[in-house]
């Protein structure tokens, strides 16, 4: 079942992760691919932050780990973060200043141009898009 339109660019690559200690490798993977696909250093940092927040949710709140995939589409970097967690909801308020937790997803939607969450038999996919 295709939750989103399939990637036909042939340039995508996938990394699986499972534990908190894998997050550095997830960020390095995203960084390497985004830079290679032509994204600026500054926007690559924002994509790394967004993916890191989603992958942090995976390792903290779900079981079974996750995987991340990066490719380009129509002048955008597209990045899927897939895990076994529930659908993610967006249009979030930023938590108040004294909150110690809860900023992750609010950060994700503020640094990306578009964010969507779709759940299906394979889990939940959060697809991030940032213009190049």
């Amino acid at each position: 079942m295709a939750l989103f339109e399939a990637d036909t660019s042939g340039t995508s690559d996938t990394l699986s992760y499972g534990e908190a200690e894998d997050l550095g490798a997830v960020r390095a993977f995203v960084r390497r691919h985004a830079l290679a696909l032509g994204m600026s250093e500054a926007r690559t940092e924002m994509l790394m932050l967004a993916v890191n927040e989603l992958a942090t949710n995976t390792v903290q709140h779900t079981t079974g780990g996750g995987r991340v995939r990066v490719w380009t589409d129509a002048g955008h970097i597209v990045c899927d973060v897939v895990d076994q967690g529930p659908p993610r909801t967006f249009q979030r308020q930023m938590p108040p200043a004294d909150a110690v937790r809860g900023r992750g997803l609010a950060i994700v939607e503020r640094v990306c141009d578009h964010v969507a969450s779709v759940s299906g038999p394979d889990g939940t996919t959060v697809r991030l898009r940032l213009h190049l």
């Binding site: 908190a20 200690e21 997050l23 550095g24 960020r27 500054a42 940092e45 924002m46 790394m48 932050l49 890191n52 927040e53 942090t56 390792v59 903290q60 930023m94 200043a97 004294d98 909150a99 110690v100 937790r101 900023r103 992750g104 609010a106 950060i107 503020r110 640094v111």
Partner: protein, 120 residues
């Protein structure tokens, strides 16, 4: 992935130098160090983030916790953060309006304790 932590005293201030990447894996060490500093009597704490290469929401939460802990004991808490990529995260989360942010340790130690009584 590495997180480096080192502390030194500068007058009334305790400066914690943080280097490397602060995320959900490394943040517990940062939290423990900040708790330890306050428990052992530090009241004017400056965290130098100059050598931090990555900081996420978990790291921000640790810093918010430290700010609250120091306010509870009438202490002060300053952050040294000059890199645009980190400042951007503070702006996105509106925490730039909560933390005292400085571009150097000298600026932080000059400002953070400025409301304290002169000792000489």
């Amino acid at each position: 992935m590495e997180l480096s932590l080192s502390t030194y005293d500068s007058g009334d201030h305790t400066v914690l130098e943080v280097g490397g990447e602060v995320d959900v894996y490394t943040a517990p060490r940062l939290r423990e160090k900040l708790v330890e500093l306050v428990e052992t009597g530090a009241r004017h704490v400056v965290v130098d983030l100059s050598r931090v290469e990555f900081l996420d929401s978990t790291g921000l939460g640790v810093l918010v916790g430290a700010l609250k802990r120091l306010r509870a004991v009438n202490g002060t808490f300053g952050l040294v953060c000059a890199h645009e990529r980190l400042l951007k995260i503070f702006r996105i989360t509106a925490l730039d309006r909560v933390f005292s942010l400085y571009d150097s340790v000298a600026a932080a130690t000059a400002a953070v304790g400025s409301d304290a009584e002169p000792t000489a």
